[in-house]
Protein backbone atom coordinates (compact mmCIF):
# COMPACT_ATOMS: atom_id res chain seq x y z
CA UNK A 1 0.00 0.00 0.00
CA UNK A 2 1.37 3.36 -0.99
CA UNK A 3 -1.69 5.47 -0.74
CA UNK A 4 -1.94 9.16 -1.14
CA UNK A 5 -0.21 8.05 -4.26
CA UNK A 6 -0.83 5.68 -7.11
CA UNK A 7 -4.09 4.01 -6.23
CA UNK A 8 -6.13 2.21 -8.80
CA UNK A 9 -9.26 3.58 -10.39
CA UNK A 10 -12.79 2.25 -10.54
CA UNK A 11 -12.88 0.44 -7.21
CA UNK A 12 -16.48 0.13 -6.04
CA UNK A 13 -16.75 -1.71 -2.75
CA UNK A 14 -20.19 -0.49 -1.68
CA UNK A 15 -23.39 -0.25 -3.70
CA UNK A 16 -25.57 2.85 -3.63
CA UNK A 17 -28.94 1.13 -3.44
CA UNK A 18 -29.27 2.23 0.17
CA UNK A 19 -29.77 5.83 -0.97
CA UNK A 20 -33.07 4.74 -2.49
CA UNK A 21 -36.69 4.68 -1.39
CA UNK A 22 -38.24 4.31 -4.82
CA UNK A 23 -36.88 2.61 -7.86
CA UNK A 24 -37.71 3.07 -11.53
CA UNK A 25 -39.69 0.49 -13.44
CA UNK A 26 -39.55 0.85 -17.22
CA UNK A 27 -42.48 -0.11 -19.43
CA UNK A 28 -40.29 -1.64 -22.13
CA UNK A 29 -43.22 -1.91 -24.58
CA UNK A 30 -44.08 1.77 -24.37
CA UNK A 31 -40.40 2.87 -24.50
CA UNK A 32 -39.40 4.56 -27.77
CA UNK A 33 -35.66 4.45 -26.99
CA UNK A 34 -35.22 8.19 -27.09
CA UNK A 35 -32.39 7.61 -24.56
CA UNK A 36 -33.20 10.74 -22.58
CA UNK A 37 -33.45 8.75 -19.32
CA UNK A 38 -30.09 7.24 -20.21
CA UNK A 39 -28.32 10.56 -20.71
CA UNK A 40 -30.00 12.33 -17.81
CA UNK A 41 -29.37 9.57 -15.26
CA UNK A 42 -26.78 11.13 -12.91
CA UNK A 43 -25.51 7.67 -12.01
CA UNK A 44 -25.20 6.38 -15.55
CA UNK A 45 -26.85 3.23 -14.28
CA UNK A 46 -29.28 2.73 -17.14
CA UNK A 47 -27.99 0.42 -19.84
CA UNK A 48 -29.38 0.87 -23.34
CA UNK A 49 -27.32 -1.33 -25.60
CA UNK A 50 -29.29 -4.52 -25.09
CA UNK A 51 -32.27 -2.85 -26.75
CA UNK A 52 -34.02 -2.66 -23.39
CA UNK A 53 -33.55 0.07 -20.81
CA UNK A 54 -32.01 -1.93 -17.98
CA UNK A 55 -31.40 -0.27 -14.62
CA UNK A 56 -28.47 -1.35 -12.41
CA UNK A 57 -30.29 -1.53 -9.10
CA UNK A 58 -27.01 -1.72 -7.16
CA UNK A 59 -26.22 1.85 -8.14
CA UNK A 60 -29.62 3.46 -8.84
CA UNK A 61 -30.26 5.98 -6.05
CA UNK A 62 -33.91 6.36 -6.99
CA UNK A 63 -33.75 10.08 -7.74
CA UNK A 64 -36.57 9.77 -10.26
CA UNK A 65 -35.12 12.06 -12.92
CA UNK A 66 -35.62 9.32 -15.50
CA UNK A 67 -39.33 9.09 -14.68
CA UNK A 68 -39.73 12.84 -14.56
CA UNK A 69 -38.05 13.37 -17.95
CA UNK A 70 -39.50 10.41 -19.89
CA UNK A 71 -41.47 12.01 -22.73
CA UNK A 72 -43.79 8.94 -22.95
CA UNK A 73 -44.20 8.70 -19.17
CA UNK A 74 -43.32 5.03 -19.38
CA UNK A 75 -41.10 4.97 -16.27
CA UNK A 76 -42.80 4.74 -12.92
CA UNK A 77 -41.22 5.04 -9.50
CA UNK A 78 -42.14 2.09 -7.30
CA UNK A 79 -41.40 1.89 -3.59
CA UNK A 80 -38.59 -0.54 -2.86
CA UNK A 81 -39.89 -3.83 -1.54
CA UNK A 82 -43.23 -3.49 -3.30
CA UNK A 83 -44.10 -5.62 -6.28
CA UNK A 84 -42.90 -4.33 -9.66
CA UNK A 85 -45.60 -4.11 -12.27
Amino acid sequence: MFFGASNGVGILPTPNSGFRTFHPVVDQDACIHCNLCWIYCPEGCIEKETGKMVVDMDYCKGCGICANECPRKCISMVKDGEQDE
Binding site: M1, F2, F3, G4, A5, S6, N7, G8, V9, G10
Partner: protein
Protein backbone atom coordinates in the same frame (compact mmCIF):
# COMPACT_ATOMS: atom_id res chain seq x y z
CA UNK B 1 36.46 18.09 -16.68
CA UNK B 2 34.50 20.26 -14.37
CA UNK B 3 34.62 24.00 -14.90
CA UNK B 4 35.38 26.75 -12.40
CA UNK B 5 33.12 29.78 -12.35
CA UNK B 6 32.48 32.79 -10.19
CA UNK B 7 28.83 32.49 -9.24
CA UNK B 8 26.28 33.58 -6.68
CA UNK B 9 24.60 30.75 -4.78
CA UNK B 10 21.41 31.43 -6.74
CA UNK B 11 23.31 31.04 -10.01
CA UNK B 12 25.12 27.99 -8.69
CA UNK B 13 21.81 26.41 -7.69
CA UNK B 14 20.46 27.22 -11.15
CA UNK B 15 23.41 25.35 -12.67
CA UNK B 16 22.55 22.45 -10.37
CA UNK B 17 19.00 22.50 -11.66
CA UNK B 18 20.17 22.66 -15.29
CA UNK B 19 22.47 19.69 -14.77
CA UNK B 20 19.54 17.65 -13.38
CA UNK B 21 17.67 18.08 -16.68
CA UNK B 22 14.26 18.97 -15.28
CA UNK B 23 11.23 18.53 -17.55
CA UNK B 24 9.15 21.34 -16.07
CA UNK B 25 10.02 24.40 -14.00
CA UNK B 26 7.22 26.52 -12.57
CA UNK B 27 8.12 29.68 -10.70
CA UNK B 28 7.14 33.13 -9.60
CA UNK B 29 9.71 35.81 -8.78
CA UNK B 30 10.40 37.08 -5.27
CA UNK B 31 13.45 38.75 -3.73
CA UNK B 32 15.97 37.21 -3.05
CA UNK B 33 15.09 34.15 -5.12
CA UNK B 34 14.70 36.13 -8.35
CA UNK B 35 18.20 35.80 -9.78
CA UNK B 36 17.82 32.01 -9.63
CA UNK B 37 14.70 31.93 -11.81
CA UNK B 38 16.26 34.56 -14.10
CA UNK B 39 19.32 32.38 -14.55
CA UNK B 40 17.10 29.43 -15.49
CA UNK B 41 15.41 31.64 -18.09
CA UNK B 42 18.86 32.59 -19.43
CA UNK B 43 19.75 28.91 -19.84
CA UNK B 44 16.66 28.44 -21.99
CA UNK B 45 17.29 31.62 -23.97
CA UNK B 46 20.88 30.50 -24.66
CA UNK B 47 19.88 26.95 -25.55
CA UNK B 48 21.81 25.51 -22.61
CA UNK B 49 18.80 23.76 -21.13
CA UNK B 50 15.63 22.18 -22.40
CA UNK B 51 12.64 22.28 -20.09
CA UNK B 52 9.16 23.78 -20.08
CA UNK B 53 9.20 26.98 -18.09
CA UNK B 54 5.85 27.90 -16.56
CA UNK B 55 5.85 31.51 -15.48
CA UNK B 56 2.82 31.31 -13.30
CA UNK B 57 0.84 34.06 -11.64
CA UNK B 58 1.62 33.20 -7.99
CA UNK B 59 3.63 30.97 -5.71
CA UNK B 60 0.52 28.98 -4.90
CA UNK B 61 0.16 28.21 -8.58
CA UNK B 62 3.89 27.55 -8.92
CA UNK B 63 3.66 24.70 -6.43
CA UNK B 64 0.29 23.57 -7.85
CA UNK B 65 1.78 23.43 -11.34
CA UNK B 66 4.81 21.58 -9.98
CA UNK B 67 2.41 19.08 -8.42
CA UNK B 68 0.49 18.68 -11.69
CA UNK B 69 3.68 18.22 -13.68
CA UNK B 70 5.10 15.71 -11.22
CA UNK B 71 1.85 13.75 -11.43
CA UNK B 72 2.58 13.26 -15.13
CA UNK B 73 6.02 11.86 -14.32
CA UNK B 74 7.98 15.05 -14.97
CA UNK B 75 11.11 16.00 -13.05
CA UNK B 76 10.02 19.32 -11.64
CA UNK B 77 11.62 22.34 -10.00
CA UNK B 78 10.45 25.49 -8.31
CA UNK B 79 11.90 28.14 -6.02
CA UNK B 80 10.59 30.74 -3.66
CA UNK B 81 11.21 32.73 -0.50
CA UNK B 82 9.55 34.22 2.54
CA UNK B 83 5.98 35.36 1.85
CA UNK B 84 6.05 33.33 -1.33
CA UNK B 85 6.88 30.19 0.63
CA UNK B 86 4.09 30.98 3.07
CA UNK B 87 1.73 31.45 0.14
CA UNK B 88 2.86 28.04 -1.17
CA UNK B 89 2.31 26.45 2.22
CA UNK B 90 -0.99 24.83 1.31
CA UNK B 91 0.51 23.15 -1.73
CA UNK B 92 3.63 21.98 0.13
CA UNK B 93 1.61 19.41 2.03
CA UNK B 94 -0.22 18.27 -1.09
CA UNK B 95 3.08 17.59 -2.83
CA UNK B 96 4.61 15.80 0.15
CA UNK B 97 1.47 13.89 1.15
CA UNK B 98 1.05 12.59 -2.38
CA UNK B 99 4.75 11.71 -2.42
CA UNK B 100 5.84 13.77 -5.40
CA UNK B 101 9.61 14.32 -5.50
CA UNK B 102 9.58 17.98 -6.42
CA UNK B 103 12.77 19.86 -5.56
CA UNK B 104 12.68 23.50 -4.61
CA UNK B 105 15.11 26.14 -3.45
CA UNK B 106 14.05 28.48 -0.70
CA UNK B 107 16.02 31.70 -0.45
CA UNK B 108 15.64 32.14 3.30
CA UNK B 109 14.22 35.52 4.17
CA UNK B 110 12.36 37.20 7.01
CA UNK B 111 8.58 37.05 7.05
CA UNK B 112 6.56 40.24 7.30
CA UNK B 113 5.63 42.34 9.02
CA UNK B 114 7.68 44.57 9.27
CA UNK B 115 8.27 44.04 5.58
CA UNK B 116 11.86 42.90 5.29
CA UNK B 117 13.51 41.25 2.32
CA UNK B 118 16.69 40.17 4.07
CA UNK B 119 18.16 36.91 5.27
CA UNK B 120 16.41 35.08 8.13
CA UNK B 121 15.20 31.49 8.50
CA UNK B 122 11.75 32.02 9.91
CA UNK B 123 10.15 31.27 6.53
CA UNK B 124 11.42 27.71 6.33
CA UNK B 125 10.93 26.95 10.02
CA UNK B 126 7.31 28.08 9.69
CA UNK B 127 6.99 25.24 7.17
CA UNK B 128 8.53 22.72 9.55
CA UNK B 129 5.71 20.20 9.44
CA UNK B 130 4.95 20.43 5.73
CA UNK B 131 6.36 16.97 5.12
CA UNK B 132 9.31 18.21 3.06
CA UNK B 133 12.90 17.19 3.52
CA UNK B 134 14.74 20.40 4.46
CA UNK B 135 18.44 20.82 3.79
CA UNK B 136 20.64 23.86 4.40
CA UNK B 137 23.62 24.80 2.24
CA UNK B 138 26.60 26.74 3.55
CA UNK B 139 27.84 28.28 0.29
CA UNK B 140 27.29 28.43 -3.45
CA UNK B 141 29.22 25.27 -4.18
CA UNK B 142 27.13 23.33 -1.73
CA UNK B 143 23.96 24.89 -3.17
CA UNK B 144 24.83 23.44 -6.57
CA UNK B 145 25.85 20.07 -5.16
CA UNK B 146 22.86 19.93 -2.84
CA UNK B 147 20.32 20.48 -5.64
CA UNK B 148 21.78 17.52 -7.52
CA UNK B 149 21.78 15.35 -4.40
CA UNK B 150 18.27 16.55 -3.60
CA UNK B 151 16.86 15.05 -6.79
CA UNK B 152 18.63 11.77 -6.15
CA UNK B 153 17.23 11.71 -2.62
CA UNK B 154 13.71 12.88 -3.47
CA UNK B 155 13.30 10.40 -6.31
CA UNK B 156 14.69 7.42 -4.41
CA UNK B 157 11.85 4.86 -4.48
CA UNK B 158 12.20 4.35 -0.73
CA UNK B 159 12.03 8.09 -0.05
CA UNK B 160 9.71 9.66 -2.66
CA UNK B 161 9.52 12.89 -0.71
CA UNK B 162 10.02 16.46 -1.93
CA UNK B 163 13.18 18.29 -0.92
CA UNK B 164 13.68 21.95 -0.07
CA UNK B 165 17.21 23.27 -0.42
CA UNK B 166 17.67 26.33 1.78
CA UNK B 167 20.03 29.19 0.97
CA UNK B 168 20.42 32.17 3.27
CA UNK B 169 18.91 35.17 1.51
CA UNK B 170 21.48 37.60 0.11
CA UNK B 171 24.28 36.26 2.35
CA UNK B 172 24.36 33.29 -0.02
CA UNK B 173 21.91 34.01 -2.82
CA UNK B 174 23.66 37.23 -3.85
CA UNK B 175 27.23 36.45 -2.83
CA UNK B 176 29.63 35.41 -5.59
CA UNK B 177 32.14 32.74 -4.93
CA UNK B 178 34.35 30.30 -6.76
CA UNK B 179 32.20 27.33 -7.76
CA UNK B 180 33.12 24.19 -9.60
CA UNK B 181 30.47 23.15 -12.11
CA UNK B 182 30.43 19.42 -12.78
CA UNK B 183 30.19 18.06 -16.29
CA UNK B 184 26.79 16.96 -17.57
CA UNK B 185 28.07 13.39 -18.02
CA UNK B 186 29.12 13.22 -14.38
CA UNK B 187 25.70 14.34 -13.18
CA UNK B 188 23.97 12.00 -15.63
CA UNK B 189 25.95 9.13 -14.17
CA UNK B 190 24.97 10.11 -10.62
CA UNK B 191 21.34 10.99 -11.32
CA UNK B 192 19.50 8.67 -13.70
CA UNK B 193 16.37 9.87 -15.55
CA UNK B 194 13.31 10.14 -13.29
CA UNK B 195 11.27 6.94 -13.30
CA UNK B 196 8.30 6.44 -11.03
CA UNK B 197 5.12 4.46 -10.74
CA UNK B 198 3.60 7.31 -8.76
CA UNK B 199 2.23 9.07 -11.82
CA UNK B 200 -0.75 9.02 -14.09
CA UNK B 201 -0.62 6.37 -16.77
CA UNK B 202 -2.91 5.83 -19.76
CA UNK B 203 -2.25 2.07 -19.77
CA UNK B 204 -2.82 1.69 -16.05
CA UNK B 205 -4.97 4.62 -14.84
CA UNK B 206 -4.29 5.99 -11.38
CA UNK B 207 -5.87 8.08 -8.69
CA UNK B 208 -3.44 10.52 -7.08
CA UNK B 209 -3.85 12.77 -4.05
CA UNK B 210 -6.86 10.74 -2.98
CA UNK B 211 -9.31 11.69 -0.25
CA UNK B 212 -8.74 9.52 2.81
CA UNK B 213 -10.92 9.16 5.89
CA UNK B 214 -9.96 8.50 9.51
CA UNK B 215 -9.84 4.80 8.72
CA UNK B 216 -6.69 5.06 6.61
CA UNK B 217 -5.16 8.49 7.15
CA UNK B 218 -2.75 7.51 9.92
CA UNK B 219 -1.27 4.72 7.85
CA UNK B 220 -0.31 7.21 5.17
CA UNK B 221 1.39 9.42 7.73
CA UNK B 222 3.21 6.42 9.16
CA UNK B 223 4.54 5.64 5.70
CA UNK B 224 5.76 9.23 5.35
CA UNK B 225 7.55 8.96 8.68
CA UNK B 226 9.21 5.76 7.49
CA UNK B 227 10.32 7.52 4.33
CA UNK B 228 11.99 10.21 6.42
CA UNK B 229 13.74 7.56 8.50
CA UNK B 230 14.95 5.98 5.28
CA UNK B 231 16.07 9.40 4.04
CA UNK B 232 18.49 9.64 6.97
CA UNK B 233 20.62 6.80 5.56
CA UNK B 234 20.22 8.02 2.01
CA UNK B 235 21.36 11.58 2.72
CA UNK B 236 24.64 10.21 4.04
CA UNK B 237 24.96 7.57 1.31
CA UNK B 238 24.35 9.99 -1.57
CA UNK B 239 26.67 12.56 -0.03
CA UNK B 240 29.39 9.89 0.03
CA UNK B 241 28.63 8.74 -3.50
CA UNK B 242 28.70 12.32 -4.75
CA UNK B 243 31.95 12.88 -2.91
CA UNK B 244 33.56 9.89 -4.63
CA UNK B 245 32.60 11.43 -7.97
CA UNK B 246 33.46 15.08 -7.39
CA UNK B 247 35.75 15.07 -4.38
CA UNK B 248 33.20 17.12 -2.48
CA UNK B 249 31.48 15.45 0.43
CA UNK B 250 29.78 17.32 3.24
CA UNK B 251 29.24 14.82 6.03
CA UNK B 252 25.62 13.80 5.50
CA UNK B 253 23.04 15.21 7.89
CA UNK B 254 25.68 16.75 10.13
CA UNK B 255 29.11 18.19 9.66
CA UNK B 256 31.46 18.41 12.63
CA UNK B 257 34.24 20.98 12.49
CA UNK B 258 37.19 20.56 14.87
CA UNK B 259 35.02 18.74 17.40
CA UNK B 260 37.38 15.85 18.15
CA UNK B 261 38.62 17.11 21.51
CA UNK B 262 36.28 20.10 21.74
CA UNK B 263 34.63 21.18 24.96
CA UNK B 264 32.65 24.16 23.69
CA UNK B 265 30.65 23.88 20.50
CA UNK B 266 28.22 25.98 18.53
CA UNK B 267 25.44 24.36 16.52
CA UNK B 268 24.81 26.20 13.24
CA UNK B 269 22.95 26.09 9.94
CA UNK B 270 23.73 27.69 6.60
CA UNK B 271 26.07 30.56 5.90
CA UNK B 272 26.94 31.49 9.49
CA UNK B 273 28.81 28.18 9.64
CA UNK B 274 31.52 29.51 7.34
CA UNK B 275 32.07 32.56 9.50
CA UNK B 276 32.08 30.35 12.60
CA UNK B 277 34.88 28.21 11.11
CA UNK B 278 37.14 31.26 11.04
CA UNK B 279 36.37 32.03 14.69
CA UNK B 280 36.98 28.41 15.65
CA UNK B 281 40.36 28.47 13.89
CA UNK B 282 41.35 31.70 15.67
CA UNK B 283 40.31 30.41 19.10
CA UNK B 284 42.04 27.10 18.48
CA UNK B 285 45.25 29.02 17.85
CA UNK B 286 44.74 30.54 21.28
CA UNK B 287 44.45 27.03 22.66
CA UNK B 288 40.69 27.07 23.27
CA UNK B 289 38.98 23.73 22.76
CA UNK B 290 36.17 24.89 20.52
CA UNK B 291 34.29 23.29 17.66
CA UNK B 292 31.23 23.60 15.49
CA UNK B 293 28.39 21.28 14.54
CA UNK B 294 26.62 22.23 11.33
CA UNK B 295 23.09 20.91 10.80
CA UNK B 296 22.73 20.17 7.05
CA UNK B 297 19.46 18.30 7.34
CA UNK B 298 16.78 19.85 9.51
CA UNK B 299 14.14 17.36 8.33
CA UNK B 300 14.82 14.56 8.80
CA UNK B 301 16.40 15.79 12.02
CA UNK B 302 19.71 14.17 13.07
CA UNK B 303 18.10 12.85 16.25
CA UNK B 304 20.37 9.87 16.69
CA UNK B 305 23.46 12.02 16.29
CA UNK B 306 22.43 14.46 19.01
CA UNK B 307 21.37 11.56 21.24
CA UNK B 308 24.90 10.23 20.85
CA UNK B 309 26.66 13.45 21.93
CA UNK B 310 24.63 14.14 25.08
CA UNK B 311 27.66 14.02 27.34
CA UNK B 312 30.42 14.75 24.87
CA UNK B 313 30.78 18.53 25.29
CA UNK B 314 30.86 20.77 28.33
CA UNK B 315 28.75 23.53 26.85
CA UNK B 316 26.79 23.89 23.64
CA UNK B 317 25.24 26.97 22.06
CA UNK B 318 22.69 26.87 19.28
CA UNK B 319 22.65 29.73 16.76
CA UNK B 320 19.12 30.48 15.55
CA UNK B 321 18.22 32.88 12.76
CA UNK B 322 14.59 32.28 13.63
CA UNK B 323 12.49 31.98 16.72
CA UNK B 324 9.22 30.59 17.90
CA UNK B 325 7.60 33.44 19.81
CA UNK B 326 6.84 32.58 23.38
CA UNK B 327 9.38 29.80 23.47
CA UNK B 328 12.90 30.05 22.04
CA UNK B 329 14.90 29.53 18.86
CA UNK B 330 13.36 26.90 16.62
CA UNK B 331 16.50 24.87 16.10
CA UNK B 332 17.45 25.19 19.76
CA UNK B 333 14.20 23.55 20.92
CA UNK B 334 14.92 20.50 18.88
CA UNK B 335 18.58 20.20 19.72
CA UNK B 336 17.71 20.63 23.40
CA UNK B 337 15.05 17.94 23.21
CA UNK B 338 17.54 15.44 21.81
CA UNK B 339 20.17 16.37 24.40
CA UNK B 340 17.69 15.88 27.25
CA UNK B 341 19.28 14.15 30.19
CA UNK B 342 22.81 14.90 29.02
CA UNK B 343 25.48 16.81 30.88
CA UNK B 344 26.16 19.63 28.39
CA UNK B 345 25.16 23.11 29.49
CA UNK B 346 22.95 24.68 26.84
CA UNK B 347 22.34 28.17 25.57
CA UNK B 348 20.46 29.64 22.62
CA UNK B 349 21.70 32.62 20.63
CA UNK B 350 19.12 34.47 18.55
CA UNK B 351 21.04 36.43 15.92
CA UNK B 352 20.88 37.62 12.35
CA UNK B 353 17.15 38.21 12.13
CA UNK B 354 15.95 40.21 9.14
CA UNK B 355 19.39 40.45 7.57
CA UNK B 356 21.32 41.61 10.67
CA UNK B 357 24.96 40.73 10.06
CA UNK B 358 26.59 38.06 12.23
CA UNK B 359 30.16 39.31 12.55
CA UNK B 360 33.07 37.25 13.80
CA UNK B 361 33.39 39.13 17.10
CA UNK B 362 29.77 38.26 17.89
CA UNK B 363 30.51 34.57 17.33
CA UNK B 364 33.66 34.90 19.45
CA UNK B 365 31.43 36.36 22.18
CA UNK B 366 29.24 33.24 21.99
CA UNK B 367 32.26 30.99 22.58
CA UNK B 368 33.22 33.27 25.44
CA UNK B 369 29.79 32.76 26.99
CA UNK B 370 30.15 28.99 26.57
CA UNK B 371 33.50 29.25 28.31
CA UNK B 372 31.89 31.05 31.25
CA UNK B 373 29.12 28.46 31.41
CA UNK B 374 31.74 25.73 31.53
CA UNK B 375 33.11 27.54 34.58
CA UNK B 376 29.65 27.45 36.11
CA UNK B 377 28.91 31.10 35.59
CA UNK B 378 25.25 31.77 34.95
CA UNK B 379 24.03 32.69 31.49
CA UNK B 380 20.48 33.34 30.41
CA UNK B 381 19.21 30.40 28.40
CA UNK B 382 17.87 32.39 25.46
CA UNK B 383 19.85 35.46 24.39
CA UNK B 384 19.34 38.00 21.63
CA UNK B 385 22.83 39.07 20.53
CA UNK B 386 23.97 41.96 18.33
CA UNK B 387 21.09 44.18 19.38
CA UNK B 388 20.95 47.99 19.29
CA UNK B 389 20.07 47.95 22.95
Amino acid sequence: MSKKAFLSANEAAAHGVRLCRPDVVAAYPITPQTTLVEKLADFLADGEADFRYMMVESEHSAMAAALGASMMGARTFTASSSQGLLYMCEMLSYVSGARHPVVMVDANRATATPWNIYGDQRDVFAMRDSGWIMLFAENGQEALDMVIQAYKLAEDPEVMTPVMVNLDGFTLTHTYDLVEIPEQEEVDAFLPPFKTSNKLDLEDPKTLCQTVGPDFHMEGRYLQQQAFEKAKEKIAAYDREYGEMTGRSYGGMIEEYRCEDAELVLVTTGSVSGTTRIVVDCLREEGKKVGMIRVRSYRPFPKEYFDSIKDRFAAMGVIDRSLSFGLEGTLYSEVKAELYGGSAKLVNFIVGLGGRDIPKDLIAMMYDKLDRMQKNEAEEEVQFLGMRW
